[in-house]
């Protein structure tokens, strides 16, 4: 293949992703910046800027860094367990730990409260055995609560992304090192670590960006004293109506993302080795030495406590009677009930905006499916385009990740500014919601697929071509099977990102197509036990639907 052909091929591959990001990301974003700039020029820009930018910026970086570090510390040992060992309930656990990813923050806050709050089970338990008057643990509304929630949400990214790369690692490299006398620590440091480093970095980057732009967690679990850039942007743009400051903060957020991305691409490009991934995880076995057994039990136990108990608490609340017995303090009408599930199907107030649960499920699944299709196609195309584009790709790569570091509020305002007439009108264009979801999901696919793509040795393709395979066939027989695992991880995340996403769905305001998270928020916006119960029931339903979908997608892996 000549250089020239490569170049043209790259341009062809770039058309779709560039058109997509240009139209749905850069164009609306620039429109907001332009308007913000105009207002700043006409009305002046007189605030104590340094303080208003530095403080939230400092806190944002601090909490995101700390959260990412702790997520890594918990995620890596778990990723190892999933990559190398077979154990009872592995498939179920793999699905369960993904579920937090889709939960709306308001629901996570509620289930954390049921567990850890001042009247949560743990505090009540501690108070009764220690004979205390007041709850000993004050975890909510603090930095630890933010970090805990971020770990709860994002550990699964490390487990899935690093785990899948680890599983595909040829175990013979490690075995060879062991045979040559290297102790396990050295095998890890000199063989395993460098080989899975690209995926560790990619996963950490994703986790960091998610924590960096965190919004609901900061507001609801961190409490009002702690503000990230994203929270400040929301306050400035929508409460103070101070668009210039909101625009400035968004720009700062974007610049940070760019700097981070440049650092990232610099590090990753040096260390990609060509190696043939194993398709069927031949290094996977049951733990049999006692150390391995203890290790796997510890990790499984930890994951169950961290991820499964809050989910179980949520499911349990959705079938618990929540009405208080009037007049007598603390006497909750004990008992289980399916009332809240039945109530979901009743339009008690004949409301125009009543959400039939099946319609919410259908809308959510359609949006999620479309998001997975859009972001998977774009992600794979872009990965190929990047592979062919040489040095310039580092620069482009950084820009591709910008959607992850963008404030949803700012982008939402941009959509209002530019998409106000046919053919793309926020009021009628049916694809805007999956498109907005894909902006966040597509970098995920790219980050999971690209390391896998870069690690495929060219010799495999050349061998196939020499034997007479057409380029298409080479792709189908060589690339496709080697990419499937990574692509599935990306697809699963796209799907779940869309299922749980709430912000864009309201910002793009299509009340006739409510999703499950939208329904949950509508219930929680009004007082009353039935509303609360239905929110819990809908959230549980969301968990079940997502769990089943992920289980099905996971099955395709084999």
């Amino acid at each position: 293949m000549s250089k020239r052909f490569n170049f043209n091929g790259a341009i062809l591959l770039w058309i779709a992703p560039i058109a997509f990001l240009g139209l749905f990301f850069f164009y609306p974003l620039l429109a907001v910046f332009r308007v913000a700039g105009e207002i700043a020029i006409t009305e002046g820009f007189s605030v104590d800027l340094l303080e208003r930018v530095w403080k939230p910026l400092g806190f944002t970086v601090y909490q995101a860094g700390l959260s990412t570090l702790i997520t890594l510390l918990i995620g890596l040992p778990a990723a190892y367990l999933f990559a190398r060992y077979e154990f009872v309930g592995k498939k179920a656990l793999r699905v369960l730990i993904l579920l937090p990813f889709i939960l709306p923050t308001v629901v996570v806050a509620a289930s954390f409260n049921a567990l850890l709050g001042p009247r949560g089970w743990i505090n009540i338990f501690l108070m009764s055995i220690l004979g205390l008057e007041s709850p000993p643990m004050q975890l909510l509304q603090s930095l630890p609560a933010i970090i805990l929630a971020h770990v709860f949400y994002n550990t699964t990214i490390i487990i899935r992304v690093v785990g899948s790369a680890w599983e595909q690692l040829n175990p013979r490299w490690e075995e060879a090192a062991s045979v040559l006398g290297a102790p396990p620590g050295r095998v890890w440091w000199e063989i395993t670590r460098p080989l899975i480093q690209p995926s560790i970095l990619a996963a950490s980057l994703l986790v960091f960006l998610f924590d960096f732009t965190s919004f609901g967690v900061i507001l609801m679990l961190g409490g009002p004293g702690l503000a990230t850039l994203e929270v400040e942007i929301y306050i400035q743009a929508l409460q103070m109506l101070n668009l210039p400051l909101a625009g400035l903060l968004s720009a700062v957020q974007l610049i940070c993302t760019l700097i981070l991305m440049s650092g990232y691409s610099f590090f990753t490009r040096q260390s990609t080795l060509g190696l043939i991934p194993r398709l069927f995880g031949e290094g996977v076995r049951r733990p049999h030495r006692w150390k391995e057994i203890v290790y796997s039990w510890m990790i499984v136990g930890f994951l169950v406590v961290l991820f499964v108990t809050p989910l179980a608490a949520l499911g349990f609340r959705s079938i618990t009677k929540l009405d208080a017995n009037r007049g007598e303090r603390g006497e909750i009408q004990a008992g289980l009930t399916l009332d809240y599930y039945q109530e979901l199907f009743i339009n008690r107030r004949q409301s125009l905006f009543y959400v039939p649960p099946l319609a919410a499920v259908r809308n959510s699944l359609i949006y999620a499916g479309l998001t997975a299709v859009i972001s998977l196609s774009l992600g794979v195309l872009t990965a190929y385009a990047l592979r062919r584009s040489g040095k310039i790709s580092r620069v482009i790569d950084a820009f591709l990740m910008l959607p992850l570091g963008t404030s949803a509020v700012t982008l939402g305002l941009g959509y209002i500014l530019v998409f106000n007439r046919p053919p793309i009108d926020v009021r009628t264009f049916p694809l805007l919601v999956p498109v907005a979801h894909s902006l966040v999901a597509f970098p995920f696919v790219l980050r999971t697929v690209l390391p896998a793509l870069l690690s495929i040795p060219g010799s495999l393709r050349q061998a196939a071509a020499v034997m007479g395979a057409s380029p298409l066939r080479v792709w189908w027989e060589v690339d496709r099977p080697l990419l499937t695992k990574a692509a599935l991880v990306g697809a699963i995340f796209s799907f779940t990102i869309s299922l749980g996403e709430f912000g864009a769905t309201t910002f793009l305001s299509r009340p006739e197509f409510p999703t499950m998270p939208v329904a949950i928020f509508r219930f929680l916006a009004q007082p009353g036990a039935l509303n609360y119960g239905q929110a819990m029931a809908m959230a549980t339903l969301l968990l079940v639907i997502c769990g089943v979908s992920i289980y099905l997608v996971d099955k395709m892996d084999r």
Partner: protein, 352 residues
């Protein structure tokens, strides 16, 4: 594996097609009217259908986030308006919207049925639709079993017997939080309210970011069984607690403190957006929102009070929702001018 992929893909296509086949309801005349609202907007299907039939029009609602988000979107899109009518701008955002000049004046004949106190724009660029009072709700069982008297004024809340019992919301992120801050400003004045908040802080007031967390997590009288027996919410919340119970209790589990000056009154408005091509229909829709049919539907849909004196209240409201004696108010101009400063000073006093 490929079969499964194919199956799932086919299922998706079927789902997408079935979604697109949901009948696009356009009336024969093809007329349509778009109404921009906030996310809390709700209405009965039959009430809207009746209007649609009578006027041969299809109404689409454009839900646009919370009140701040909606106002912002309306201002940003004023050159190419997204809707014909905007409903839901309240007295705390009113001046911003009026200054941005996004409304066309309309003097509806229905204004005759509405008391003057609600008509905050003399030019009728916006017309009042409903009001609600942000009040402190308390957990009745808590106070009765502890044999504690319920606080009767804002000053009472700083007394040691109520230490750590009140949860409020950050005015920067929550609309009832802002309303309660304004109640304290109206009561103590612009030079004294920060002292009051210092005292509240010393008495262990709990601040959360949003109403959902405050009401459902911190408040002990709701389903969350939290630690604080008093929360900033609405005067109508006790009625909602009765209405949204599987077996409606005789008495609500909560009640509001409604003594003079403790509540803040929020009034919501409707206005015709400048540049509408459906002026005649928009006028009809505004008339309709102020008519008894719509006004009587609102209380149970949004738990707010109708401004039209001819509208009857539902029984659950008359029985369980208390009306504050003298709710605090501030003029929209004063609010618009000071909003940012008040919130920032509040943050410095209470959060730092």
């Amino acid at each position: 594996m490929n079969k499964l992929v194919l199956k799932i893909f086919l299922m998706l296509i079927v789902l997408v097609l079935s979604a697109n086949c949901t009948p696009q309801v356009t009336s024969p005349g093809g007329k349509s009217l778009t109404v921009m609202t906030h996310d809390s907007f709700a209405v009965s299907e039959e009430v809207i259908t009746a209007f649609e039939k009578e006027n041969n029009v299809k109404i689409s609602f454009l839900k646009s986030g919370d009140t701040g988000a909606m106002v912002n979107k309306a201002i940003l899109s004023k050159n190419t308006p997204l809707a014909d009518v905007l409903y839901g701008v309240d007295n705390t955002f009113l001046s911003r919207a009026l200054d941005a000049d996004i409304f066309e004046a309309y003097t509806s004949p229905r204004l005759a049925d509405i008391p003057a106190q609600f008509k905050l724009d003399s030019k009728n660029r916006v017309l009042p639709v409903d009001y609600g009072d942000v009040c402190i709700n308390y957990d009745r069982a808590y106070f009765s079993t502890k044999k504690l008297s319920v606080p009767q004024s804002l000053e009472d809340l700083t007394k040691p017997e109520y230490k750590g019992m009140l949860v409020v919301m950050n005015p920067a992120t929550s609309s009832p939080g802002l309303a309660f801050l304004m109640a304290t400003i109206a009561h103590f004045g612009q030079d004294k309210y920060l002292e009051y908040w210092q005292a509240l802080r010393a008495n262990g007031v709990v601040v959360v970011s949003d109403w959902e967390t405050g009401y459902y997590t911190n408040f002990s009288g709701s389903s969350g069984k939290g630690a604080q027996p008093m929360v900033v919410s609405y005067a109508s919340s006790p009625a909602a607690e009765v209405f949204f119970a599987k077996e409606p209790p005789k008495e609500p589990p909560t009640a509001s403190i409604v003594s003079p000056g403790t509540c803040f009154r929020q009034v919501e408005f409707v206005g015709i957006l400048k540049g509408t091509k459906n002026r005649a229909l928009a006028e009809k829709f505004v008339d309709f929102m102020l008519s008894p049919a719509f006004q009587e539907d609102m209380p149970l849909q949004m738990f707010v009070y109708p401004v039209n004196q001819k509208a009857k209240l539902p029984e659950v409201f008359t029985a369980h929702s208390q009306s504050p004696e003298k709710p605090a108010t501030l003029s929209p101009d004063v609010i618009a001018k000071n909003r940012e400063t008040w919130i920032q000073s509040w943050e410095k006093t209470v959060l730092k």
